[in-house]
Symmetry: C2
Subunit: 205 residues, 2 copies
């Protein structure tokens, strides 16, 4: 149930024709990879999808929006999940629970995620946009952890690390989508981090 609510919240808001949106997204990703993001026009996207420009405008503001539509909902969704995580959980556990929950929302995006990432990698402008998104994720996580009672300095550290885990697990997942799903990758990243960090304390030089 929670899952459904969140799925509805992120990126797949009820629209008139999900198939049209899907066709436009597929066409856009194909074209971006074929010709380079900068060289593709909205007209080309709509032609490839066999739809009108007017239909395009119903779903996306511009071609960049095809890649980022709904992403403004990621920070609040993550923050909300952190706040909702069980009262007894320590801050890092609450953070992980939230990351795993929201990662589950991306399950139906497997076919897009790897291609989307390849497009973003190809363009400094899109990379900037993607970094801005993750900066907003960090801010939202820090606020949410503070709302749970974490000190500001602890919240900031864990928020940065949480964003790092989310981003890394996302890259692992999209690099090998058949290996494990995104939530599993989040858990793996946290386990690997604990194994690497746990034993070592920063040594004096």
């Amino acid at each position: 149930m929670t899952q459904c609510v969140i799925t509805a919240k992120i990126g797949t808001m009820p629209r008139w024709d999900p198939k049209a949106e899907e066709r436009l997204r597929n066409a856009a990703l194909e074209l971006f990879l074929e010709h380079g993001y900068e060289n593709v026009t909205v007209t080309q996207i709509t032609e490839r999808a066999g739809l009108t420009r007017r239909t395009f405008s119903r779903y996306f503001t511009d071609k960049r929006d095809v890649l980022f539509a709904g992403s403004e909902q990621l920070p609040p969704a993550l923050a909300d999940a952190v706040v909702r995580a069980g009262d007894t959980l320590a801050p890092f556990e609450a953070l992980l629970t939230a990351l795993v929950e929201i990662a589950g929302v991306f399950a139906d995006r497997v076919p897009h995620a790897a291609r989307r990432r390849a497009v973003i990698k190809s363009s400094p402008e899109l990379q900037e946009r993607e970094r801005t998104k993750f900066a907003a994720v960090t801010d939202a996580l820090a606020d949410a952890l503070q709302q749970r009672g974490a000190a500001a300095s602890q919240a900031l550290l864990l928020a940065h690390v949480g964003a790092a885990i989310f981003q890394t697990a996302f890259e692992w997942w999209t690099d090998q989508p058949d290996h494990a799903d995104f939530p599993t990758r989040i858990r793996e990243a946290a386990t690997e981090l604990a194994a690497n960090v746990g034993g070592s304390t920063p040594s004096a030089e």
Copy 2:
């Protein structure tokens, strides 16, 4: 000795007149904070510093460069320090040693760091530039860890987390510059991370 070499490498490359550079930097930071970064011209900066535009051009390409000069040397300096760290160190220990070493280079920047950060916070354009810098740090750290033999996936995770520690410790330090120096803040962040991460493994939902 190593310290000196690194200091020379980052941002304080031998120039003709370190005092002129310092005066320009101080004038720029003052003006940015007084009038807002967008509203300040290079002419105002040189007037406030009592120097010519020609002198300005000797040190900086434009007003943004006053804030970022030398920062392109941070990623390679960190990567170099990771590669140089003792052979016997585990990846995360090598990473920390490198972060602590390079943080030491910033010691003489205390008076600037907090004001610089306040200016950057005030401008989306500058925030973007700062994020681009940290993305380059992450990439450089990941490469260096792989050079030490870490698997690509581990290197990516630790690089993201290393950048998160560096950034958080930097914010802690500039928030309270009299509390502890930057290298100490790096060690504190790593200790706090270990304390938070160590005990908890990601729980299944």
